[in-house]
């Protein structure tokens, strides 16, 4: 019996849009093993983002269950979900979503501080070193390039040593070269610090970096649900 860090069972998410019902997810069984780098690939509207939001506890499924790090997310309150995200999930978004009022360093340690925990400064320093951001640690996000911002976001996602890192089109706003760099870094860093990554993308090339590719189409997993098929 293998233990999964992320596991969904029969996950369904329906939206009502006007008179139509949109099936964003329609019975998804998705599993991720620890320290794995999984790319979920699909067209826009295929439900891949919804899957990610479910895994991160941002959204509640219409039906089915999500388990992350051995814990079921159903029945958690809003506050509990916030604490769950703070401790178990690191998010990386397309538009970086750094807090503009805080410096890079403060952004990175924010999830840790939000939990009232002691910041492991040497670890953060190491992280910055690997991400090549040491010099920018006191800069504000507004003064950084897209690639640098995304690197800061990666650092933020990893700094609290979460169980999984959920990346939603992290290179969507970057040009190809820096997009590639950022993803390479993500891969390198995750490897180095033993992190699990679920990456959402529509770009085959980007997905190639992953250990495993899962294709999602019309709310269903089309192939790649099994491991190393």
């Amino acid at each position: 019996m293998e233990s999964w860090i992320v596991e969904t069972r029969g996950l369904k998410k329906y939206y009502r849009l006007g008179d139509n019902i949109v099936k964003a997810l329609d019975g998804v069984d998705f599993k991720v093993r620890e320290q794995e780098f999984v790319a979920v690939i699909g067209k826009s509207g295929s439900g891949k983002s919804t899957l990610l939001h479910m895994a991160g506890g941002l959204d509640m499924p219409t039906e089915g269950e999500v388990r992350v790090a051995g814990r079921s997310l159903s029945g958690l309150t809003k506050e509990e979900l916030a604490v769950f995200r703070r401790r178990k999930v690191g998010f990386i978004f397309q538009n970086y979503n750094l807090v503009p009022d805080l410096t890079v360093y403060e952004n990175i340690v924010l999830p840790i501080e939000l939990d009232g925990k002691q910041v492991d400064h040497s670890f953060v320093e190491e992280l910055l070193e690997v991400l090549n951001m040491t010099e920018k640690r006191e800069a504000f996000p507004g003064n950084l390039s897209g690639g640098q911002q995304q690197r800061a976001a990666i650092a933020r996602a990893i700094a609290s040593k979460p169980a999984i890192i959920l990346a939603d089109e992290p290179t969507g706003n970057l040009d190809t070269a820096s997009g590639h760099d950022v993803l390479g870094l993500l891969k390198v860093v995750a490897k180095k610090f033993g992190q699990t990554i679920v990456l959402i993308t529509h770009d085959q090339d980007i997905a190639q970096l992953a250990d495993r590719i899962v294709v999602i189409e019309d709310g269903k997993i089309r192939k790649g649900s099994g491991l190393y098929a």
Partner: protein
Amino acid sequence: MLRNNNMQAVSRMAVRSLKNNRRRSFTMITAVLLSVFMLFSVMTVGVTYFKMQRLQNIRMSGGDFDAIMYGAAKEQQKTCKENPDVCRMGISAMSGYIAETEFDSTPNVVLMWADDVWWNEIMAPARERLEGRYPVEENEIMVTEYALEKCGFKGLKTGDEFTAVYGAGEKKKEMTFRICGIWDGYGDRSVFFVSEEFYRQTGFSPADISSGRLCVKFRQRIIPQKMQDEFIESMELGKQQKVLFTMDSAFSVQILTGIAGLVLITCLCAYLLIYNIMYLSVAGNIRYYGLLQTIGMSGRQIGHLVWRQMLLIGGVGTAGGLMLGSVVSFGVVPSVVKALGIRMGRGGEITVAFHPLILLLTVLIAGITVYIAGRKPVKIAVMCSPMEALGYRPAVRADKRRRESMAGRGRSVSPAGRIWRMAKEQIAKDRKKAGIVILSLAAGMSVFLCMATLLCSQAAREYNPSYRDFDMVIKNDTVQKEESEERLQIFDQELLKKLNGIDGIAEIAPLVYTEIAVPWEPGFADQWMREFYEMWMTIPYEDDLAEYKESPENFGSSLVGIGREDFEALNEMSPQPVDEEDFLSGKTCLLFRNGLDLKNSDVEGKSVTCTEYGNRENARTFEIAGLVDENAYTALLGYPPTIIVSRQAVEEFAEEPVIFKAGIRYEKQRLSIWERILQTGGYQPSDAGKETEDAILSVMEDSPFHRDYSYESRIRMMEEAKKAQGNMMEAGIGAALILALIGVMNYINTFVGNIQNRRVEIAVLESIGMTGRQVKKMLLLEGFLYAAGAWGVTAVLGTAVTYMIYQSMNYMDADFMIPLLPVLGMMALSAAVCVSVPAAAYRKIEKEGIVEYITMPC
């Protein structure tokens, strides 16, 4: 469950957020600062006013009491004591007077007895110095240095004795008093306090109206009229008994109401502004809060983040406001309090009352305001779901009603009409917010309107020196002298010549008089004197009748001569005009009514005869044409009537009638109210005529009789009025400006936020063919509608409040008058602000282009 202590980082973020949104923080801090400043100042004025009023009251009445009753019977004392509203009650009683000492025959010092409560509690606050103790022995006495001096015993000390004759009722008695104490302070100081024993042997009783004084201090600070009435009723007053309240409680209530009103308006404005900014800031940053939730910020922490910001803003603003308030209060409050009618006498500087309670109350009110304003925005921030904030959930909450109305009704309307309707709908869409903005704009405008109206009404008040609209009236003070020989002709030929030579004088109208006697006759003279005694005298007419018949010279009066213009002016005021020819020719006369209960019909057609004073031979009889009430035409009031005839008639009757008064009119055109307001701010006298007046005064000063004249002049009255008003108006306009500033800030924030929210909508409108000009027009119209709404509220509420305030302050009998020019100016200004904000906002949108707004995520 022990909560995680994880707020430190959140607090730091709050500070950072404030620092990075400088403009927003600054606006909010300014709002709090201004409001706190207003609250603090207004309340300081209030407290200072009441404190000073109490002090003034204590000093004027020589004791701390609210009501005084003349004569108090035993039962009444009991009733009063049992009244639950009464805090304390003291009794004093007049026990005679010092009739004579070896040094002074008319010391005019009263002997009083006071009970314990009066002496120890009621009077204590009015005393500044006290040595010795209250008299116990019959011959002991408590004195003031002032009273001693009046008796000629200057320099006596405690323990010294003096002998004086005192009177009590009918009897007079010589007695040696021993001084057992000296006090000094406020109130009546020509008083010796005596012991109870002394008082008892004089035979006076507290029940006597002329002796007993019952002073009552109520528990409440402000005694409403109803309570006063109830108290008076409960005392079951005897016919001659009277209860007087020392304080004008109605005015106090008005001032309290005014303060409460200003506090309320200020709070409302501040609330609106803070709410508005916070709401916009949170609603505009909903993504930010969603983002914070995705990285694991809990709702509690987000609440803390927003509250923390509010706390910081509130704290900084309050501290600043209090500091500014304290600084300004020292300068402004005394003059405002003075303007509200507090005059401190000797040694009476108005000291600003800083009460810790004001500080506390200001902080509390500001805190509550900020709290209430922050609740909704915080709730929004806490409740926002991260998904919504990330802009993923499809928006299905389209406003169907509005869309239908736009599509359905818009068909047959002209483009201009449609724009007009769209602007209207925009405001109607968020009624609450529009109402808030309109109210807050109206608040500033209303206070401005109120101030401008009061100012204008004051300025419009005609400062008329006594009569006929003269610019200056000079009086001959010798006329008031007791001895006939001392009444001199100070306006001699030389002086008149000099006066006539002064440039800028249009008219000098002297009034002359001569002393006369009115001999008794059974007709009019008897009728008049009977009326006169009934009205004014305490003794019956019959007591003096014989003397009057015998020597009418003892009952002197005056014959006054007036010019044609004076007569015309009188005639104009009179309900029954008098034939001019008969009057000028000296056939008829007018009589000064002197407050008697006589009607024109009682005297008309009757005749009155007068004789020259000291010369019974020279007599003249006039037919009475009517009665007048204008007392400007009286010189020396005697028991018999003052007879007003033409000047010519007086000159024929007496050799050299004395000029007792001269009215002077300047050539210079007086300024209209508006010129006055524009030139001098309204309440300052203009310079017009100032030179002429100075010239007249210098002529008067040069004359040999420079001690014997007094004058009234428009310029002087206006100067005095200005002095009395102090900086009241500046303070008022300042308050209006602060409120207006808050209102405008509110408006700007709302509108800019509104446009920001509607960028997509506007972009869509433009993309479907609405021209930029049309969009701009729509926005301008919206701005204008805000202004119009604010005008409407001001016109209704503002005017009503203004009228009420005006009514309550109108002890100077000024006409109610809405100042057209400032109001128009205010309207123009507000319209300009209301229209320029959308224009500026639109220009910004235009610059940034519209396409971005369509493509902008969420």
